[in-house]
């Protein structure tokens, strides 16, 4: 269907961001050269090389951990909690002041639409620092047991789907509770973390409190396995999460994992269809589907299946795929060539296993990594696209007849991160929410996040929570959740 409306391009200017030709690591308050092999960070929408970043070697990680330890012992640990809080408030404000710059940089490096980096990623990142700042001098009142103490040095490894937001989820609670950090951003999206290092400098944060060591898997392993790290926090794939849990076994390190998901988004026949369709779209196409809690399995009640699918296809036809910096863009670029290959592979499996693939007519840019929004119908619970995390804009549609069947199918997964329920009936929402084995349940909405609200998985979606009072426990000794 063609739209009666034509949108003129409305690109955000990229001149607000200066990207240096090369970047190093941020250790002990300074930018230094890494001794690992340098890698390029590319704009996934154009394949243009944005810059070259040196990777942290094991020796660099050593230096970063040593700086973090020294600062923890001498400065940050003994500091008055109220002052620690003030530093976090400063960081929150600086992020807000430079929000536009961060949003553009994030969209350039990650490929996500500016609408999302501007309206979701950056404001939420600032909110996380603001929220946790207030906790710094109130930990005795957090209900986590008497006299909770920081653990020491936190080693944190974050993914590429929400680079700055995941940094905020990790760094803000660690600092608020008095720990220092060594953070490894993802290989394909290190730039907003390095810009964040500038924020740390502007805030006069004591050197060594935050250390940033870009790199790939080897760098992450060096952080996780370092003997002087007291706490490991990881967000990423379940496979890597298992490796980390193995590496941490038998040590004194505290571990939290936020891993994959295969969320069921359940639509009952009394749901307001238009709202549900918006929620389905938001659930699976937000951030190109690069979301661990994406609503990637649509469970729709059989009697409204055709109506929902028709409406959904009509709506998807209006989504604009293209330039991430265009303010009208709904779906940006796939983050990397590797990820695009994985999405293609799983999508092809969907066809090979007998599901029906539907994609809207849309022109994709010639350069860059792109995948159109995709809906699979006639999906069986045994299909790979119904079991494995695609981490892309690919929706698998299954049907159910009764609430019990919906719950059984929703829970039929090794994951348990999130779920959605669409129905007008309040009593049904509460009953189904109770029965779903998932850490976050969105009823008549989807993909909402807030720093006050605990987030994390059941089953193989990981353990521990981030956000809220619960999130603090991961960074405190003697804390009882």
């Amino acid at each position: 269907m063609t739209s009666p409306f034509q949108y003129a391009p409305a690109p955000e200017s990229r001149s607000i961001v200066d990207i240096a030709p090369s970047y190093g690591l941020f250790i002990d308050g300074e930018f230094v050269d890494g001794t690992g092999e340098a890698f390029k960070s590319v704009n996934p929408a154009t394949e243009e090389v944005l810059t070259e970043v040196s990777a942290g070697s094991a020796a660099d990680v050593d230096r970063a951990v040593a700086a973090a330890r020294r600062t923890f012992t001498r400065t940050w640990g003994p500091m008055r909690p109220a002052d620690r809080g003030k530093y976090l408030f400063r960081i929150a404000r600086l992020l807000q002041e430079r929000a536009r710059e961060f949003a553009v940089l994030e969209s350039l490096d990650n490929g996500k639409p500016i609408r999302e980096s501007r309206d979701v990623d950056i404001p939420l990142a600032a909110a996380h620092f603001f929220y946790h700042a207030g906790w710094a001098d109130k930990l005795d009142h957090a209900g986590l047991g008497p006299n909770p103490r920081p653990l020491g040095v936190a080693g944190q490894v974050i993914p590429w789907n929400f680079p700055l937001l995941m940094l905020a989820w990790k760094v803000a609670p660690a600092l608020a509770t008095g720990n220092t950090v060594v953070l490894k951003p993802a290989e394909t999206t290190p730039l907003s973390a390095l810009l964040f290092a500038e924020i740390c400098q502007q805030a006069d944060l004591p050197p060594g409190v935050v250390n940033i060591v870009p790199g790939a898997g080897d760098t992450g392993r060096a952080v996780v396995e370092h003997g002087d790290v007291d706490k490991v926090a990881f967000t990423g794939s379940t496979e890597v999460g298992k490796q980390i849990a193995r590496a941490v076994a038998g040590t004194r390190k505290k571990l939290t994992l936020e891993l994959g998901g295969k969320a069921a988004n359940i639509v009952f026949d009394d749901a307001p269809i238009d709202q549900a369709v918006e929620g389905i779209v938001q659930g699976i196409f937000f951030n190109q589907g690069h979301v661990c809690c994406a609503g990637s399995r649509l469970l729709v009640q059989e009697n409204i299946h055709d109506e929902v699918i028709a409406s959904l296809q009509r709506r998807i036809g209006t989504l604009r795929v293209g330039d991430p910096l265009d303010k009208n863009t709904d779906i940006g670029a796939i983050n990397s060539a590797d990820q695009l290959a994985r999405i293609r592979e799983l999508s092809d499996y969907g066809v090979a296993e007998g599901a029906q693939r539907w994609q809207p007519a849309c022109d994709l840019p010639e350069r860059g990594f792109w995948f159109p929004p995709t809906v699979f119908t006639d999906v069986s619970p045994a299909h790979r696209i119904a079991r494995e995390e695609v981490f892309g804009p690919v929706l698998s549609v299954l049907t159910f007849r009764t609430p019990d069947e919906a719950v059984a199918k929703a829970n039929n997964t090794t994951y348990g991160l999130s779920a959605g329920i669409w129905t007008e009936k309040g009593s049904r929402i509460l009953k189904i929410a109770n029965q779903l084995r998932a850490g976050v349940v969105w009823a008549n909405t989807f993909n909402k996040f807030d720093p006050t609200s605990p987030f994390g998985g059941y089953k193989q979606s990981g353990y521990g929570r981030e956000g809220g009072r619960h999130g603090l426990a991961a960074y405190l000794k003697g804390a009882e959740k």
């Binding site: 047991g145 849990a245 193995r246 084995r437 909402k448 609200s453």
Partner: protein
């Protein structure tokens, strides 16, 4: 020989799986002695198949147990304490023999075990208030978090403290709404079997607790790897095996409670430290509007 003294009826100690008292399917048993090495009884020596059966039973019971109201679950657990109290003398004899304690020290341990059970029975309907709450999110949403049980928990019970230690690790698992597969102290399994008889004659549904007498070093590995076990408490794992079990548990992202360096003083106030590792936090969002 005809005598005036009555010949005692000795007890055969068996496993406790799905509300029944089977022998080990392997037919194995082992000698249990008192602290001085005198024969007390033969205990069933649980096999891998017994452990698997126990997990099936625990999974089967999880739906019912976790869906019970917290009030009801609290009453069921309190009922266990009532029945324990009635078996006080038997527990004292078994604890004294197994742990080599004086009668008065054994009595103190049994008293503490019953009281500990009562303490946890009172937690069931308070956890949500203490660990859950409403989250003031920046938007028109009602958003609340609540604790929920993790699922099936494998418990390697302490090797030294045969009843107080056992109760201290088992009761919190149940209070949170989980079901349990317990491996007892290898050398001191008898109070655990008696506890199983208490559970069987209380109102605890079959399968909620399954008790395996045997070797934690042997069974631990199978439970750590088992894909239908959600969490494992390694408190009673042999020191040299604990790290291996933790590694095996990583394969299914199990929640793990690591073993303490030495067996703790079980008379100390446990706080929430043994409840929270087996609870998940679920957060539910709904728009606010008209």
């Amino acid at each position: 020989m005809i005598g005036s003294e009555r010949l005692a009826v000795r007890k055969t100690y068996k496993l406790y799986v799905d509300g029944a008292f089977p022998r080990s399917e392997s037919g194995r048993s082992y000698e249990v002695t008192d602290a001085k090495g005198h024969f007390l009884a033969n205990a069933a020596w649980a096999s891998r198949k017994d452990a698997r059966d126990a997990v099936v039973a625990a999974r089967g019971a999880f739906g019912k147990w976790s869906a019970m109201t917290a009030y009801n679950r609290g009453q069921v657990l309190y009922r266990v304490a009532e029945v324990m109290e009635g078996r006080h003398v038997q527990f004292c004899e078994e604890v004294a023999a197994g742990e080599g304690l004086s009668a008065s020290k054994a009595r103190a341990a049994v008293d503490a075990a019953v009281d500990r059970w009562v303490w946890y029975a009172g937690w069931t309907d308070k956890l949500a208030a203490v660990l859950g709450g409403a989250n003031p999110v920046a938007g028109p949403y009602f958003d609340f978090s609540m604790p929920e049980p993790t699922g099936v928990v494998a418990v390697l019970a302490p090797q030294q403290s045969s009843l107080l230690g056992l109760v201290s690790v088992l009761a919190p698992v149940l209070a949170g709404g989980n079901t349990a597969v317990v491996v007892t102290s290898k050398e001191r399994p008898l109070p655990a079997v008696t506890l199983a008889e208490v559970l069987a004659t209380s109102d605890v549904p079959a399968g909620v607790v399954n008790i395996l007498t045997g070797d934690a070093g042997e069974l631990g590995s199978w439970l750590a790897e088992h894909a239908d076990v959600d969490a494992i408490d390694l408190t009673g794992a042999p020191e040299r095996r604990a790290m291996e079990f933790e590694r095996e548990a990583a394969g299914t992202v199990k929640r793990v409670v690591r073993p303490p360096a030495i067996e703790p003083d079980w008379t100390a106030d446990p706080g929430l430290s043994r409840l929270t590792p087996f609870l998940e936090t679920k957060t539910v969002w709904h728009p606010i509007g008209v």
